[in-house]
């Protein structure tokens, strides 16, 4: 589009970005405050960070959250990829509309509704099958449900833009459909798999409402512990913990984004040169 900026547009853009970032910057700054009082600057200190290491409750919760997030996002990426393949590659099948609805609904369903309905299911299941017991298992299952939705949408859009003619070529050369998919298309959609895994991981790690409903006694995730501490008031060690989490997630996303862009560019360049040399007569797909 044309490059003409009105000052008003620029002001609103800067204002919007400021709204998004000022609270985070202030939070990180306060995490280095030596004074436990929030409105007094008592000098620079890293004491709140070193205190975190000795907080057993926080460490245990963090471990539970990490385990649940890794498990849930891995299962969700597998289920989401299968759903995306079904939706993109199979034009018609019984239950298609149902699947479309079920992968889109969790994206907008208020967590509090998902949480309570899933808990009621788990409670009824335990009565009948004596499984699953509330805790790690139920947290993972409920996280997989909403993460699958995000994974499907991410992989679906990548799969739609992937060039299917390469796969067809492989099948023409005698490769089976499964092998053609794994060898040709899987590497192309790999960045989408990675980014949806990361997104699922952070969503799962962050979830408070659903986990609070479906978890059982003794299984508190990190957000549950943070919430109960924050509810009681500001605590400096939560500032430190929050800064750590935000910086860790932020830098992971930036690094992953950079690596994926680089890989994508290289792949595009390779495909382009391959197209140039081998199939000069065929118009490249847009």
């Amino acid at each position: 589009m044309e490059r003409r900026y009105s000052p008003l547009l620029l002001t609103i853009l800067c204002l919007g970005i400021a709204i998004l970032y000022v609270p985070i910057v202030v939070l990180i700054a306060y995490s280095f405050n030596a004074s436990p009082l929030v409105n007094v600057w008592g000098g620079f200190s890293t004491q709140w960070y070193s205190q975190l290491v000795h907080n057993r409750q926080l460490l245990q919760a963090a471990l539970l959250s990490l385990e649940a997030a890794v498990t849930a996002s891995t299962i969700a990426v597998i289920l989401g990829t299968l759903a995306a393949i079904a939706l993109v590659r199979f034009a018609r099948f019984r239950g298609r509309l149902l699947l479309v609805g079920m992968v889109n609904a969790p994206l907008v369903m208020p967590e509090i509704i998902t949480g309570i309905t899933q808990l009621l299911l788990f409670v009824s299941m335990v009565q009948t099958f004596s499984w699953p017991h509330r805790g790690f298992t139920t947290i993972v299952i409920s996280h997989v449900a909403f993460c699958t939705a995000y994974a499907t949408v991410t992989v679906q859009s990548r799969l739609q833009s992937a060039d299917q003619s390469l796969e067809e070529a492989a099948m023409d050369l005698g490769s089976g459909p499964a092998r053609a998919f794994i060898e040709i298309t899987l590497p192309i959609i790999a960045p989408a798999l990675l980014s949806s895994w990361l997104l699922n991981f952070t969503l799962s790690l962050d979830d408070l409402v659903i986990s609070s409903f479906v978890s059982g006694p003794g299984a508190s995730t990190l957000p549950m512990v943070i919430y109960s501490k924050v509810k009681l008031g500001v605590s400096p060690d939560i500032n430190a913990l929050a800064s750590l989490i935000i910086c860790a997630v932020g830098s992971c996303v930036l690094i992953a984004g950079y690596l994926m862009r680089r890989a994508e560019r290289r792949r595009e360049a390779e495909t382009f040169s391959a197209n140039q040399t081998h199939t000069a007569d065929r118009a490249p797909h847009g």
Binding site: L13, I112, L120
Partner: protein, 292 residues
């Protein structure tokens, strides 16, 4: 259809069916039960009697209760109003932002997009907590304003409706900007040039071309803000006061405070009915877009 395809379709279909869709049936069932002092804390709606075999007892008491206790009506209206105005403010702020990003040169565009997306990845709970650091009575905003002599006593923002609005706008702004950007980016610049060549002033061009063509983005963004905002729990719980009674908080208190699972289920079902319209609109546009 080849049987091998069902190996791909069935795992996600069955999983979501059992763990996402079927739970709503259980919530519906339990919303017709009564609270009982046992584990789980509600009565069975299907009971075995010696005379009739199976007997179905549906108690509409929970739904009647929602109408008689005015807390629920208040909470529904308050949630809808808060979500509606927050969505409008997000739109007013997000549209110019998305527009500015769509017009930026490609290299700047990527950086700006990253800047908008990054908060979406960082913890929602922690960002709400971070906002508290700005707006509380002895927070940065009040300290700054007092220091500058603009005010003489701290502004009361925390535990008010204003704090809830700020929280929702702050948390959901990226959800508004991204779909808007997606539609504005696809806008064909030659249309705008043509309009300008034909003598249309910029504001007319905007109303006649840009706005109608970006309408899918406006709707998607608005639904992505409105629907979760109506059901928001964390923001009113951490930033709001006793009068910022949103439906999510009521449900939470009913469940964790009063341990009344049947009433909590009834609140959830009634809430879902309320949201059916917006969710249907979102689904319709989403499916249309996904299916091309």
């Amino acid at each position: 259809m080849k049987p091998g395809r069902w190996l791909i379709i069935l795992p996600p279909l069955l999983f979501l069916l059992v763990f996402f869709l079927v739970p709503f049936a259980f919530a519906l069932k339990i919303s017709f039960a009564e609270v009982a002092a046992r584990v789980p804390p509600f009565t069975d709606i299907l009971t075995r009697t010696p005379e009739h075999g199976l007997q179905l007892t549906l108690s509409p008491a929970n739904y009647q209760y929602l109408f008689t206790d005015e807390v629920y009506g208040y909470a529904y209206l308050y949630s809808l109003r808060t979500a509606f105005f927050s969505t409008l403010i997000c739109l007013a702020l997000g549209y110019p932002m998305a527009y500015a990003i769509a017009r930026a040169p490609k290299s700047t565009q990527n950086i700006l997009l990253l800047v908008i997306i990054l908060p979406f990845w960082t913890s929602f709970l922690l960002r709400v907590y971070a906002l508290e650091g700005i707006i509380r009575d002895n927070g940065l905003l009040n300290t700054l304003l007092l220091h500058l002599g603009l005010i003489h006593e701290p502004l009361k923002i925390m535990r008010t409706s204003l704090a809830v609005y700020l929280g929702i706008i702050y948390s959901y702004l990226p959800f508004m900007v991204l779909p808007l950007f997606a539609t504005l980016e696809k806008l064909d610049p030659t249309l705008l040039e043509a309009a300008a060549d034909l003598g249309s002033p910029p504001w007319r061009t905007f109303l006649d071309i840009t706005l109608p063509l970006s309408l899918p983005g406006v709707i998607a963004g608005s639904m992505l803000v409105f629907i979760p905002a109506v059901g928001e729990f964390v923001i009113p719980s951490l930033l709001g006061g006793p009068d910022t009674l949103m439906i999510g908080r009521v449900l939470w208190d009913e469940f964790f405070g009063n341990h009344d699972w049947p009433v909590a289920s009834a609140v959830a079902i009634a809430f879902l009915v309320l949201l059916a319209g917006p969710i249907a609109i979102y689904q319709y546009y989403n499916v249309k877009q996904a299916e091309g």
